[in-house]
Symmetry: C2
Amino acid sequence: MTKTLVSHVGIAVKDLDSAIKSYEILTGSRISEVENVESENVKVAMFSSVGGRIELLAATSEDSPIAKFINNRGEGLHHICIYVDDIESKLRELKKAGIKVIDETYRLGAEGKKIAFVHPQNLNGVLIELEER
Amino acid sequence: MTKTLVSHVGIAVKDLDSAIKSYEILTGSRISEVENVESENVKVAMFSSVGGRIELLAATSEDSPIAKFINNRGEGLHHICIYVDDIESKLRELKKAGIKVIDETYRLGAEGKKIAFVHPQNLNGVLIELEER
């Protein structure tokens, strides 16, 4: 059976309210709410979907990874979040295959989900977030 | 009812075979086949999913938009493809809202689907492909 691969695609933006307006027109859908993720100094707006959602991310401080990303590369596609069945096992499998991970073990993200980041270096320049189903 | 927003996320890669291997490990799934899109000078490998799929894109010629993208920015996230109910109506709506489009009208993409590209300029640096459901 085919499962859902992509949890969401993250887009780094400067002005969240203005980006929400454009993406509401584009997608024809509405965000439900804006979440403040204090640990990452970021505000997040998620467009719901069956399967891959769209997540807009704006920095709330110059220390935020999102502020650094925009300073270096400009606004744009930031990461893809992929569902995995067992995050610890996937991290071990990736390391064994020579794929560099950022998080050696999972941490708890929004809604208490187990997440971990994988380095873009061995994944064709793409920052990947893993999320346990 | 919530619908599927994202058809797929496109990733520009230099070496398709090597990227397929990494992404097979990452996603735990396998591509079904590699398609040669001659009109775009590109080879495409798609990872199936319920909802957003992952599409790896490699140039087959230096004229390919993918070759130009990689020369300018390196490998990485290239575009998001969003489902729309009526592509002509969505293109009109976007233009009316001051969002610059690349294709004034749809063209036929893989599997005879109606597609059109929207310029990154008013969408926070993200190249968007529209695909009629």
